[in-house]
C-alpha cells in the first residue's frame, strides 16, 4: 500500500516536472506536455484510430510470435536432440544470431512487399531466433544423469522425449518467449515505420513527420500499453502450462 502511494507520487512528480518544463525550460515543440498528450490520447482513443492501429500491430506481433515461437521450439528440440545436426549447423546459427535482425528489414520489404505478411514474417524471424536458441541450449542441458536414471527404469527414447526432454524444454521455450515480447514489438513496429500505412509504428512515424509531438507520445503510450498486455499474456500462459513454477513461490523463503 505504501509502495503504491510512493509510486503514484513519483509518477505525479515526473508528469508535474514535465508539464512545468514544457514551454518554460524546453520548447513544447520538442517535448510536448502531459496535458496535451492526454488530450490527444483521448481523442485518438474515442475516434477509434488508436484501437484500430493497435489491433493491427498486435495481430502482427502475436501472429509472428506464434509462428516464430513454434518454429523456434520445434527446430530447437530437433537440433538439441541430434548431436550431428547441431554440430553441422552451429556456425551458421551463431553467425545468423549475431546479426542485428533489423538490418534484414529492407530485404524483407523487397521480398514480401510492405503489407501484413511481410511484417509478420519479419517479427517471426526475430522471435524464432530467441526461442530457438533458448530451447536448443535447454535441451542440451537436460541432465545426463537424469536421463540415465530413467533409462535404467527401462525408458526408451520416446519415453525420454515425452517425460523428460519436452517438459524441460518448455521452461526454456518460455524463457525465450518472455525475452521475445519486446523484440516481437520491435519487429512489428520497425516494419511499420519503414514500410507501413497502418499500425502503431505508422502512427508514431506519421505524427513525427507532421511535427505533432503530442501525437508521437500518444502513440508511444499505446505501444507501451500493448507491450504490457503481451507480457501479461505470456505470464498467464506460463502459469497455466507450468503450474509447478507457481507452486514453488508459495513455499516459505529460507536462506
Amino acid at each position: 500500500m505504501k509502495i503504491a502511494a510512493l509510486r503514484l507520487l513519483v509518477l505525479v512528480l515526473l508528469l508535474g516536472i514535465w508539464e512545468f518544463a514544457s514551454g518554460r525550460l524546453v520548447s513544447a515543440f520538442f517535448i510536448s506536455k502531459p496535458s496535451s498528450i492526454g488530450a490527444k490520447f483521448w481523442s485518438i482513443l474515442i475516434d477509434g484510430t488508436l484501437l484500430r492501429n493497435m489491433g493491427i500491430t498486435a495481430s502482427e506481433a502475436v501472429t509472428g510470435f506464434i509462428v516464430g515461437g513454434l518454429a523456434g521450439a520445434i527446430v530447437g528440440l530437433a537440433l538439441g536432440r541430434s548431436v550431428t545436426l547441431a554440430k553441422v549447423f552451429d556456425p551458421f546459427i551463431t553467425a545468423f544470431y549475431s546479426m542485428p535482425k533489423v538490418a534484414l528489414a529492407p530485404l524483407f520489404i523487397l521480398w514480401f512487399g510492405v503489407d501484413f505478411q511481410m511484417r509478420v514474417l519479419f517479427t517471426a524471424v526475430i522471435v524464432f531466433f530467441l526461442v530457438f536458441l533458448n530451447t536448443y541450449t535447454g535441451v542440451r542441458n537436460v541432465s545426463r544423469e537424469l536421463m540415465t536414471v530413467f533409462r535404467l527404469m527401462g525408458a526408451r527414447e520416446s519415453h525420454l522425449a515425452r517425460m523428460v526432454v519436452v517438459p524441460s524444454a518448455i521452461t526454456w521455450v518460455f524463457a525465450g518467449l518472455r525475452l521475445s515480447v519486446p523484440y516481437a514489438l520491435i519487429g512489428a513496429i520497425v516494419a511499420e515505420i519503414m514500410a507501413g500505412n497502418s499500425g502503431l509504428g505508422y502512427m508514431v512515424e506519421h505524427a513525427a513527420a507532421q511535427f505533432d509531438t503530442s501525437g508521437v507520445f500518444a502513440a508511444l503510450l499505446g505501444v507501451m500499453i500493448l507491450a504490457l498486455a503481451l507480457n501479461l499474456a505470456v505470464k498467464l500462459l506460463e502459469r497455466v502450462l507450468m503450474p509447478w513454477r507457481d507452486a514453488g513461490e508459495q513455499r516459505e523463503v529460507t536462506v
Partner: protein
C-alpha cells in the same frame, strides 16, 4: 551360462551364490593429458539380498563400481557378472539413486512415482493403487499432489526412494543418497531403507563416506584405498539382522567396528596424504 529369463527371480543368484561378481575389475578413463585409473583389480562377490556398503577416500572409484554394475560402461580389465552372466549394456535389474534426487519438477510426487509404471505400461488403476501403497510405505501419505519444489529435501528423498521401489528393481545402487540430509532425518531414512530392503529382499550397494552409516546399514563393508581404488578390506559387520539403528550408538560392537574401519581408513589416508 544362459538361464531362461522367466525363472530369473527364483534363481536370482549365480551358480556359486553371487548375484553380482566383480572379477579383477579395473577401470581407466582417458583424460586430457593422460590416463586416470579409477579402480584397480577389484574382486568382490555380492550375494542376493545382501547390503554392502562401500567406503573410502573421495575419488577412489566407489561410484565407478556402481556405474559398471548399472552397465553404464564396461570395465577396462576384468569382468562384471550379474546373475552369472557377463554384463553388457544397461542393466535393467538395477535402480539408481544418487545424492541429487532427480525428480521431475513438472510432475507431482504422485506423477514422479508413477513414471516408471507408465514406462512399464501398467494399467492406470493398478498403478494408482501401487503408488498409494508406496506413498504409505515411505510415509508420504497426503503429499501425492505436491510438486517437488513444495516439499522438503527429506520428502524429496522419500519420493525418489518410492519411485525406485515402484518398478521393483532387484538391486538398488545408492550413491550417497542421504548425503545432504540432517542427522535425524538421515537416521530415519536409514532405518526405513534397511527394513524395506530386508522385507522386499533387495540387494543393495551403498556408497557412503560416513563410516557410521556404513556400519549401521551394511551386512558387509568394503573399504577402498585412495585412487587408484582397490579394496583393502572387506569387513563383516558383527551386528544382528534386526539391529535397532536408533540404539546403535550405545552398542559396543558398533563403536568397535567403526573404530576398526577408521583405523583402516586413516592409515590409508596417511599413506596417500599428498
Amino acid at each position: 551360462m544362459d538361464r531362461p529369463s522367466a525363472k530369473r527371480h527364483e534363481t536370482s543368484e549365480g551358480q556359486d551364490g553371487a548375484l553380482i561378481r566383480f572379477a579383477n575389475v579395473s577401470k581407466r578413463f582417458s583424460l586430457e593429458g593422460g590416463e586416470m585409473t579409477a579402480v584397480s583389480d577389484v574382486s568382490l562377490d555380492v550375494r542376493g539380498g545382501e547390503i554392502i556398503t562401500l567406503v573410502g577416500p573421495s575419488g577412489c572409484g566407489k561410484s565407478t563400481l556402481l556405474n559398471m554394475t548399472a552397465g553404464l560402461f564396461q570395465p577396462s580389465e576384468g569382468t562384471v557378472f550379474y546373475e552369472g552372466k557377463v554384463l553388457s549394456g544397461l542393466n535393467l535389474q538395477v535402480g539408481y539413486m544418487t545424492q541429487s534426487d532427480h525428480l521431475l519438477p513438472w510432475r507431482t510426487v504422485f506423477g514422479n512415482i508413477v513414471a516408471p509404471l507408465e514406462i512399464r505400461r501398467m494399467g492406470k488403476a493398478a498403478a494408482r493403487e501401487r503408488v498409494e501403497s508406496l506413498l504409505e510405505t515411505v510415509g508420504l501419505q497426503g503429499f501425492g499432489g505436491s510438486y517437488p519444489n513444495q516439499i522438503s529435501g527429506g520428502m524429496r528423498k522419500r519420493t525418489a526412494l518410492a519411485r525406485l521401489l515402484a518398478y521393483d528393481p532387484q538391486t538398488l545402487l545408492m550413491d550417497e543418497p542421504f548425503g545432504a540430509l540432517d542427522a535425524l532425518l538421515r537416521l530415519r531414512l536409514q532405518v526405513e531403507l534397511r527394513i524395506l530392503a530386508r522385507r522386499l529382499k533387495k540387494t543393495v550397494l551403498f556408497v557412503t563416506h560416513d563410516l557410521e552409516e556404513a556400519v549401521a546399514l551394511g551386512d558387509r563393508c568394503a573399504v577402498f584405498s585412495a585412487r587408484p581404488g582397490r579394496i583393502i578390506s572387506i569387513v563383516t559387520i558383527p551386528l544382528p539382522e534386526d539391529r535397532d539403528l536408533m540404539q546403535l550408538r550405545y552398542n559396543a560392537d558398533f563403536t568397535r567396528t567403526c573404530a576398526d574401519l577408521w583405523s583402516l581408513l586413516s592409515s590409508e589416508l596417511a599413506r596417500s596424504g599428498t
